[in-house]
Symmetry: C2
Subunit: 261 residues, 2 copies
């Protein structure tokens, strides 16, 4: 069942955690908004919701009638478990609880008219992913990996998962691709390099680009001032590819016809 008013529903996933999935989600959302789109960002990582910290927003959403109002920051409408469960207390929940929260976030939040709703998935191939895929018509998925073999191993699993359930892969991003030493400007391949492109070619999915392991990206996230707030040509190139691939996949699906009484 489509989400009324939402044109493109894009999931950002990874097999492995800590590869920069939330960083990519946040900066993708902010950049899309900066380029003139109406954008929402749904933090579906209910166990480790880092979106509020990275977006620099701590607030309690209120409801109008039965609709939860998302929090707006940097031109993006944001919803996160971190708003409802702030602080350091963990949610120790089993799968069925997750299912109902994800449903609430998709259907019970007043997203309004959106060109893009970006969903920051938790890592892995578990309950949240299944629920989303089974209940919402995803335009496609962006898969994030680092160039390390361990991360690529899990990225291949995530790609297979999306393909098994017929979610189009918009493309693969290689994050933490290399580091430029701030002292001597030499390049350091901390997590190796190039495995993202090779994996994309091997699995016949689109390669969206490389993002360097730049301490400025981490500082932006830790301080609630994501790098996407300022023009960043490398990242904008990736965002343009995501827009183009989403449009391609939307065309393939054709128009959605809803027949009502």
């Amino acid at each position: 069942m489509p989400i009324t008013g939402v044109r493109n529903l894009i999931a950002v996933g990874s097999g492995k955690g800590g590869v920069g999935k939330t960083t990519v989600s946040v900066n993708l959302a902010i950049t899309l908004a900066r380029l003139g789109n109406k954008v929402g960002l749904m933090d579906a990582d209910v166990y480790g919701p880092n979106v509020p910290l990275m977006m620099g927003v701590r607030a309690t959403p209120h409801a109008i009638g039965e609709r939860i109002q998302p929090i707006e920051k940097y031109g993006v409408k944001v919803m996160s478990m971190g708003f409802l469960n702030p602080g350091d207390k963990p949610l120790v929940w089993r799968g069925p609880m997750l299912h109902s929260v994800i449903q609430q976030f998709l259907r019970g939040v007043d997203w309004g008219e959106l060109d893009y709703l970006i969903i920051d998935l938790p890592p892995g191939t578990g309950d949240v992913q299944l629920t989303l895929i089974q209940t919402a018509p995803l335009t496609g998925a962006v898969v994030v990996t680092t160039p390390s073999d361990v991360s690529l191993e899990d990225a291949r699993k995530a790609i297979h998962m999306f393909q098994q359930v017929r979610v189009p892969i918009l493309g693969l991003v290689e994050n933490m691709s290399y580091l430029q030493c701030p002292h001597c400007n030499e390049r350091i391949d901390v997590f190796s390099h190039g495995g993202g492109r090779k994996t994309a070619e091997m699995m016949n999915v689109y390669f969206l680009g490389e993002l360097p392991l730049d301490p400025a990206v981490r500082i932006g996230g830790d301080s609630g001032q994501p790098i996407g707030l300022k023009p960043a040509p490398d990242f904008e190139a990736i965002v343009r590819q995501v827009e183009r691939r989403a449009a391609e996949e939307s065309v393939k699906k054709g128009p959605t016809v809803q027949i009502e009484d």
Copy 2:
């Protein structure tokens, strides 16, 4: 219910993925074995089991009678979902399936007599963590984080989770603490620095030490030749602390008396 023959059951966890939890688990197990202990390593990250790749072992365990035989490598008895589901096909399972696999791994594997069984948890505070904590008497947990605020936010959640369910925290490890540029030898604080120690002090848990962001660690993991195979004084110091803390917590618990007919 204790696991027969296993003296210390240590879980390695993190709030966030990709912080080096599996790297710490693998090298902790190998180093404990190198120091003369009988050691098992159970990969409980069923969605993204990276232990086989890091240990450089691909094999299919066989059963003797009803007991699954673990695979031995580098003096460590290893069991992983990666042995049973090799290749890139993901497991798209809901919570209850996980519960039964974890039970099988704990009770159905022929671990024999072990000084330490190290359990590499999946990231977060979900189904696998709950099942383990509720069904096995953990000696304690090692929590891994990077120094970034985002990772520390999730580490605090993991510590709270273990404390809520009365699992002793053996201590906190700060991984990817800094990088020494291989070109100019200057130090680069890629993911910031020092937040692990501060967080440990703030939460009144033991700080086990810092591990640098060393490309050699990643290469060791990607190639199945973990750094723990060779003497590494920094890491050994951390392992000694884990041993000491496990002994402390075992004493607190007192001897286990089993009364049988």
